[in-house]
Symmetry: C2
Subunit: 575 residues, 2 copies
C-alpha cells in the first residue's frame, strides 16, 4: 500500500516546499474551513496567523508575499490566505484584487460547504439563499489569475499544483475552493517527492535574438541612455538582471514611484537619478530622464499615479522589457520575457563592446538635501527629508496611499531598503494589514530588519484592528501615524472644507494598550525637534518593541507632488 | 426654459422623497465620488454619515434600512450606501451580499471614473490595470436585484428611478454606477413632481380566489392551527396582515429565529407559543407547533440556522405565503403574493365563519421562567433570561451571529421590540456596523427607542472601528460585549482547543476613549449580581450616553440550542 496523506495536508506541504517556502498562513477561521486549518499544524515549520478580519488578512498576505519575494533567493514572493465561504471570501475581495492589480503572488483558499450539501442545494448559512454555491467562485474569477475547485479526489492534487503554479509564476492571486468534506480525503504522499514545476516558459529564440540585436544597436548609438526601473521588475524577478545591466553599462538609472525600494537597485548609488513621475518629478530628475536618447524601461506599469497622470515625455527610442513581451519603439515582440532576455543581454560580450565609447554621464544633483536643526512644527517637506537619515540598509518602509506614498519620493533610501506601497490599486487602509504580513515575513527571514509604516489618521481607521494581530504575534514594527485630521489627499482632489473629508479624532496613544500590548512605546510628536530627537535616539532605533508614533501635521500640508497630482485627478474626473 | 437640477441632486432628491424618505446616506469618500457627495447637502433634511470603512458602511446601511422599515408607515425599509470605484465597492461586497440574502432594501451607489477616462481605457488607480472598467459592476450583478450605469444624460433619470424602484419593491440591493463627470449633468426638475411608482404587481385574481377558497376550507377543518411567522413577513410588509390574521382567528402563533422581534407580532401576547427552530426548539414550543393540524407559514426563509438544520416536522397541511407566490401542500400558485392575499383573507366574512367552531388552544407554558437573585458568575442561561426584564417596548435588540443570536431565543420580548440579526448570511462583525445604522435611524424616527447590541469579543474585532462613527454622531447605543475569550460558536463546531479559535485579548474599557468619546460609560461585569444591579439601575436604563458593557463569560459556556446546532453543522461539513 502506498503511503497517503490527507488532501488538506498535501496543500500545506506544497506551500511549505521551497522555493515557495511559506512559513505562515493568514486568514480568519469560519465553520467551513476549520478542519482545513487543523492541517496546518501537521506541516513542519508552518504556522497559522489569524487576522482580525478577512480584508486585513488579504492585505497581510500581500505584504507577506512582497517581503518573501524580496528576501528569497528565488526572487518571487508568495503568500496564502484562508477564508470561509461567502462572508469570508467576499470580505477579502478588495485585498485580493489589489494583489491582482499590483502583481503580487498569493493563493486564496476558501473553505466551502461539503459536496453533499452542495448537491442537495441546501439553504445553508453564508449562502445567498438561492442554492447557488458557485456564485462566489464566479465572482472571484475576475480578480484571479487562475482558479480551481477540489471536487474530485483523483484530480485534486493536480488542481492544487496547477493553481499554485499559475499564481506563483504569474505573480497574481490563485483561487482554490476547498469543500469541507475533501480535507481528509487521502492522496498518495509520494507525489510530494516531485516538486511542482515552477519554471517559466522559455523565450522564442529567434525573436529574442532579433530583440538582442536591435537593443545592442540602440545602445551602441546612444550617448545618454537611462535605465528606468518600474514595479514589475522586482515582482517578476528581473531585478538582479536589471542591476547587472546598470553595472555592466554604467548607465544612469531611475525608478518610478511603484519601484522605489526595489531589490538590487541601489538608490544610494552614484548614478541613481531619482524617482521619475513625468511632469510631477523633481525638475532635475525630469530633465535627466527626458533628455536621455535611449530609455531602457524594465517592468513598466504605467498607471496614473505612477506616471504623473500619463505625463511621460520620453525619447521615442524606448525599449520596454515586460514579464511576457518586449516592445521596441512601436514593435511588440511577444514571448520575449524580460528576465531571460536581460539575462542574455548582460552576459553578451557584445554589450561591453557596444558601450565601450560610452562616457558615464554625471548624475543630477542630489534632490534630497534637507534642513537640519529644525524649528517649529513638523512639515511634510521636512519629515520626508529627515527620514532619509533615520533609515538603515535593509529596512522595510511601507507607505499608505496619500501624503505618505507621495511624500516618500523625497526620501533617500539606503541600500537594500524595500519599499511597499499600493500606487496602482490605492486602497486606503492597505498598509496596516500589509504591515502585519510584512513584519511576520521579516521575522521569519531576518528579524533585525525593521518594518516602518507611515499611515494617515484617516486610512488607519479602516483597518486599525490589525495592529492587534501584530501585538498578538509579538511583532515589533514602527507605526508612524500621520495625524493631519482627515483625508488630506481627498481634500486636495475635491472638497477642502467638506465635512465628508473629516474624520472622528482618536486618542492614538491608547490604541496599543486597547489591543492588549504590554511591552510597547506610544508617543505623540508635534514639533520637528521632538521627532528629530527620536530619530537620533539609539534605543528608539532598535526594533525591540512595537511602537506607535503619532506625528501631528497640518491638515492642509501635503507634499508638492501630491498637490499637483490631485489637480490632475480632479480635472480627469470632471472631463 | 424648464427648470433643471444636477443629476447628482436628482438622485438624492429621489431617495429623500416619501415613502422612501431617507434622511441619512452612508459610505466612505473616495476621489471618484467626492463631487457626488457635494450634492447631499443640497437636499433638505438629508445628511452624510461617513463610516470608518466600506464593509461597515454596508452593514450600517442594512441596519438603517431594517429600522426604517420597522418605523415607517409604508412598512418597507431602505438605505443608501455610497462607495468609490473598485477599492470601495469591493470592500462593501460582503455587506451588500448580506442585504441580498436577507431581503433588505438598499441602493449601492458607486462613484466611477468619468466616461471620458473609461473610453480612453486609461490605466487609472483603483483599476485592475487591464482597462476593464465594467468588471466590478459585473461582479456586483451577482449580489444585486438590479443594476444601472448612468452613461447617458437623456436616460439617466429613468435609470435612477428604475434601480430605486426595483430595489425597494424587491427589498434587495440595487447597484448604481455614477460616473464622476455625470454628477453635474442637468436634468429636468419637473420629473421630481411625479413620484416613482413603487406599487407592487397585483395578484392574479383567479389564482388568488382559488387560494382563498382552499385556505378557508383548510381553516374550517382545522382544530389546532398555528401561524408561523418568518423573516420575509416583515421584510415584505405583510406583518400587519399577519397580525390581523392572528387577531381575527385567535390562532396561536410562533416565530422562527429570523422573525423574532417582527413588527406587529406581539411576543408578549397570550397566544404566542415561542420560537420554533425544528428539533432545536424548546420541547413545549416544538410540541405546540408540530402537533398543529394546519400551519399557516408567512414569509418562510428555510435556512439551516433558521430551521434547526432543516429539522422541521410540520403537518402536511401547510400553507406557505411568500412574497411572490403561495404554496399549499405541494401546489405552487405563482403570482399570489402574501401581502395582497392575506389582506383579502382577513377581511373575508367567510373567515369568521370558518373559525366559528374553533376553540382557542391554551398556549404552552411560558418557557421564559428565570431565576432571580443571582449568585456567582454570569452564565449564558441566566443572561438571556434576565435580559427579558431589562427590555422595554420599542427597544431595538441587535444580536451578533454566535452565542448572542442563539441565546436571544430565550429572551422574552416586550411589545414592539425590533430584533435584528443575520441568521442566514451570518457574517460575523455585521452587528457593529448595523448598530451604527440602526441607531442613526432610531434617532431620526424616535430618539427614545433604545438600541441594544450584543456582540461577542471575537466578532467585535472585525468591525470595532464603527463604534467611532457612533461616537462621532453623538449616538447612544448600549454595546454589550460578551467576552468569552474567542470564537465560542466555532469552538463548538470544531476545534475547541485549537489556537485558531482564540483571539487577542483586548482592554475593552479603553475602546470608547480611544475613539474619542467624552460622555460615555464603560464597565466590566463578571458576576451576575453586578449585571443584575446594572439592569435595575434607572439611570442605566436611560439611553442618554453611549455605553459599553463588557460581560465576562466562560469560554465554553453557550446556549443549548447553539451547542446542538454546532453538532449538526459539524456533521454536515464532514458529510
Amino acid at each position: 500500500m502506498p503511503e497517503t496523506i490527507s488532501l488538506g495536508t498535501y496543500l500545506f506541504e506544497r506551500l511549505r516546499q521551497e522555493p515557495i517556502g511559506l512559513k505562515s498562513i493568514f486568514g480568519v477561521p469560519g465553520d467551513f474551513n476549520l478542519t482545513l486549518l487543523d492541517k496546518i499544524d501537521e506541516v513542519d515549520g508552518l504556522r497559522w496567523r489569524g487576522c482580525a478580519n478577512e480584508l486585513n488578512a488579504a492585505y497581510a498576505t500581500d505584504g507577506y508575499s512582497r517581503v518573501k519575494g524580496n528576501a528569497s533567493s528565488s526572487g518571487l514572493g508568495f503568500g496564502a490566505l484562508v477564508t470561509t465561504f461567502g462572508v469570508g471570501e467576499l470580505s477579502a475581495f478588495n485585498g485580493v484584487a489589489g494583489s491582482y492589480a499590483e502583481h503580487v503572488g498569493t493563493i486564496h483558499i476558501v473553505g466551502i460547504p461539503s459536496l453533499d450539501s452542495q448537491k442537495k442545494q441546501l439553504l445553508l448559512h453564508h449562502t445567498l439563499g438561492n442554492g447557488d454555491f458557485a456564485v462566489f467562485g464566479k465572482m472571484s474569477r475576475n480578480i484571479s489569475q487562475t482558479e480551481g475547485v477540489l471536487d474530485d479526489p483523483a484530480h485534486a492534487p493536480y488542481v492544487i499544483d496547477r493553481v499554485i503554479r499559475e499564481a506563483y509564476i504569474h505573480q497574481r492571486p490563485g483561487y482554490l475552493a476547498f469543500p469541507a468534506n475533501m480535507v481528509d480525503v487521502e492522496v498518495p504522499k509520494e507525489r510530494l517527492n516531485e516538486p511542482i514545476d515552477l519554471s517559466i516558459a522559455k523565450n522564442d529564440p529567434s525573436a529574442q535574438e532579433e530583440v538582442l540585436d536591435i537593443v545592442l544597436d540602440l545602445i551602441s548609438k546612444a550617448k545618454n541612455p537611462v535605465v528606468l526601473i518600474d514595479a514589475c521588475c522586482a515582482r517578476h524577478d528581473a531585478s538582479k538582471e536589471a542591476a547587472e545591466l546598470i553595472n555592466v553599462t554604467n548607465f544612469k538609472y531611475a525608478t518610478t514611484p511603484m519601484a522605489k525600494g526595489t531589490k538590487n537597485i541601489d538608490e544610494s548609488g552614484r548614478r541613481f537619478t531619482g524617482v521619475y513621475v513625468g511632469s510631477l518629478s523633481y525638475e532635475d530628475v525630469k530633465a535627466s530622464v527626458e533628455e536621455s536618447d535611449l530609455v531602457l524601461s524594465i517592468g513598466a506599469l504605467l498607471s496614473d499615479f505612477n506616471t504623473g497622470s500619463f505625463s511621460y515625455s520620453l525619447n521615442r527610442n524606448t525599449v520596454e522589457f515586460h514579464s511576457d513581451h518586449t516592445k521596441i519603439r512601436n514593435a511588440i515582440f511577444p514571448k520575449v520575457a524580460m528576465k531571460e532576455v536581460l539575462h542574455e543581454l548582460v552576459k553578451l560580450p557584445k554589450l561591453k563592446e557596444a558601450t565601450k565609447n560610452y562616457k558615464p554621464v554625471d548624475v543630477v544633483n542630489d534632490p534630497f538635501e534637507h534642513e537640519d536643526q529644525p524649528e517649529g512644527l513638523i512639515t511634510q517637506r521636512w519629515l520626508w527629508h529627515r527620514l532619509s537619515k533615520f533609515l538603515k540598509p535593509r529596512d522595510i518602509v511601507i507607505t499608505e496611499t496619500g501624503t505618505a506614498s507621495f511624500g516618500i519620493i523625497q526620501t533617500k533610501y539606503p541600500k537594500d531598503v524595500l519599499g511597499i506601497s499600493q500606487i496602482l490599486w490605492g486602497s486606503i487602509g492597505y498598509t496596516v494589514g500589509s504591515t502585519f504580513g510584512a513584519t511576520a515575513a521579516a521575522e521569519e527571514t531576518d528579524p533585525s530588519r525593521r518594518v516602518i509604516l507611515f499611515v494617515g489618521d484617516g486610512s488607519l481607521q479602516l483597518t486599525v484592528q490589525e495592529i492587534s494581530s501584530m501585538v498578538r504575534n509579538g511583532l515589533k514594527p514602527y507605526l508612524f501615524v500621520l495625524n493631519n485630521d482627515g483625508y488630506t489627499i481627498e481634500k486636495y482632489i475635491h472638497g477642502p472644507e467638506a465635512e465628508y473629508n473629516d474624520i472622528q479624532p482618536w486618542d492614538h496613544k491608547l490604541i496599543l494598550p486597547t489591543f492588549g500590548a504590554k511591552n510597547y512605546e506610544a508617543v505623540t510628536v508635534g514639533k520637528a525637534a521632538e521627532l528629530d530627537e527620536l530619530f537620533k535616539n539609539e534605543d528608539f532605533a532598535k526594533n525591540d518593541k512595537i511602537r506607535l508614533i503619532e506625528v501631528l501635521l497640518d491638515s492642509k500640508d501635503a507634499p508638492q507632488n501630491l498637490v499637483k497630482q490631485a489637480e490632475l485627478s480632479s480635472k480627469a474626473n470632471s472631463g
